[in-house]
């Protein structure tokens, strides 16, 4: 089975050494995903001796690749070249007789490469191990059952009075900026009573003025109710009807 097609020609086997036909570079590097992987493969499976590399041929290939780079995946080619350069460097250093004993401290370039390859191999294996782990949505699924009918219990948010006052003061400040909203000190009891009166009037035609007052509330209560009704009249929220002079006064909600 062909392993890949490169320019119409079937590539039936993986490369045996580093001399990859330039046209096949992308395909092969993709199969291995990256050069370290390829190198590992070559060393392990093909018994490639990293010292048995013809440096001049490698150099030649460099040049070919550089020319082809525009058309190919630049990064991969670059990775490949880096690896090739590394090998060439090792080779060249092995070829040179050791100049001075001082260099003894210098690490063998092969050892460096081996360490790197080995480190890489460990994680290549680790990735394979992770791939094998039983995984959700492939090997197992979470088991669920439909929940029973559940009463929604969402506790209502708490509100702090201070919070309320803060936002009010801010909205009032803001309102003043928008327009000169006159906010004067006013008896809240009046406004509360206004609401109560309106509620009493709702849904009814005419309500006797008198019925809105309660003697139990005392003088102050009566005054508050009176002020509330006056305010309601002022705001055109209620109508006052008196059919004859000194006759009974009736109040009617205008909107109802």
């Amino acid at each position: 089975m062909p392993f890949a097609f490169v320019m119409g020609k079937a590539v039936t086997e993986l490369p045996k050494d580093l001399y990859i036909p330039p046209q096949a570079l992308e395909v092969i590097l993709e199969a291995f995903e990256w050069p370290l992987d390829l190198l590992l493969y070559l060393i392990r499976r093909q018994n490639l001796d990293i010292l048995d590399i013809d440096v001049s041929r490698i150099t030649e290939q460099y040049m070919q690749y550089v020319e082809l780079m525009d058309a190919m995946r630049f990064e991969l080619a670059a990775e490949y070249l880096l690896m090739a350069a590394m090998l060439a460097e090792i080779k060249s250093r092995m070829l040179l007789p050791r100049a001075t004993p001082v260099e003894e401290e210098e690490e063998d370039p092969r050892a460096q490469l081996i360490r790197r390859l080995q480190e890489y191999e460990r994680f290549k294996k680790a990735a394979e191990d992770i791939e094998e782990l039983p995984r959700m949505e492939r090997d197992t699924w979470i088991a669920t059952a439909a929940p029973p009918p559940i009463e929604k219990q969402r506790p209502a948010p708490d509100v702090d009075m201070r919070e309320l006052l803060t936002v009010l003061s801010e909205v009032l400040k803001r309102a003043q900026m928008y327009e000169s909203h006159q906010v004067q000190r006013e008896a809240l009891s009046t406004r509360e009573r206004m609401s109560e009166v309106l509620e009493k009037l709702s849904g009814q035609q005419f309500v006797p003025f008198i019925s809105l007052f309660s003697a139990r509330e005392g003088k102050l209560g009566v005054v508050v109710t009176f002020l509330a009704i006056m305010e309601l009249i002022k705001e055109s929220l209620v109508e006052i009807v008196q059919t004859e002079n000194f006759g009974p006064i009736h109040v009617k909600g205008r909107a109802e």
Binding site: P147, P155, A156, D160, R162, V171, R185, S195, A255
Partner: protein, 206 residues
């Protein structure tokens, strides 16, 4: 695969993983043709599964779209707490609306919007209604006949007020900084509001 014993774990595994009801046909479709069990065998497996659910926290039930495992209702008390939501916070817009209803009642939505300078969403009004903090006390006699809102008894109760008079006077609110200083409140940790203080304690004493 026609032995019912062997079908049981497969069927229950599928029902538990599916997350939705499965018909007998859908369960059958999980098997390759050559091993597909007869309908009666699947039915027998389902019966066996239901039988095994006895005394457990869940049951196998048949609903319109097939079979599914369902948690038994008697455990709803505990299971329901899985979805207990912690109380959220009301939006700033809602609090502003509530404050305006409290202090300027009766007030229409339009009037609230006028003061706030922005629209009041229907949601806010609904939430305040549901909380029973506001009520409609009438309709203003202007085009559209908008509802006028006022606060409720529940509102007063929640804030520990006997009546609206116990709310701090507006004039005081407008000088909150002074008020806070006077009352010796600590700064409330509220976003972007260094003046976040007021007089709930004050209201309680009066």
């Amino acid at each position: 695969m026609s032995d019912v014993e062997g079908l049981v774990p497969i069927v229950e595994a599928a029902l538990l993983a599916a997350g939705k009801p499965l018909t007998v046909a859908a369960i059958g479709a999980l098997f390759e043709e050559h091993e597909r069990p007869a309908k009666e065998d699947l039915q027998a497996a389902l019966d066996e599964i239901r039988h095994r659910c006895e005394g457990r926290g869940f049951d196998l039930v048949e609903v319109a779209s097939g079979f599914r495992f369902q948690v038994r209702e008697r455990y709803a008390t505990w299971v329901g707490r899985l979805w207990h939501e912690s109380p959220q916070k009301y939006s700033r817009a809602l609090l502003e609306t509530l404050a305006l209803v409290a202090y300027r009642q009766p007030i229409t939505r339009g009037e609230i919007e006028e003061i706030r300078g922005v629209a009041v969403s229907t949601n806010i009004i609904r939430t305040l209604h549901e909380r029973e903090w506001i009520r409609v006390v009438g309709h203003r006699d202007v085009p559209g006949r908008p509802a006028m809102y006022a606060t409720t008894r529940q509102f007063l109760d929640y804030f520990n007020l006997k009546n609206l008079d116990q709310l701090p006077a507006l004039a005081d609110i407008r000088d909150l900084e002074t008020l806070n200083a006077e009352l010796g409140f600590d700064t409330l940790p509220m976003e972007a509001s260094p003046t976040a203080q007021a007089a709930v304690d004050d209201a309680e004493q009066s």
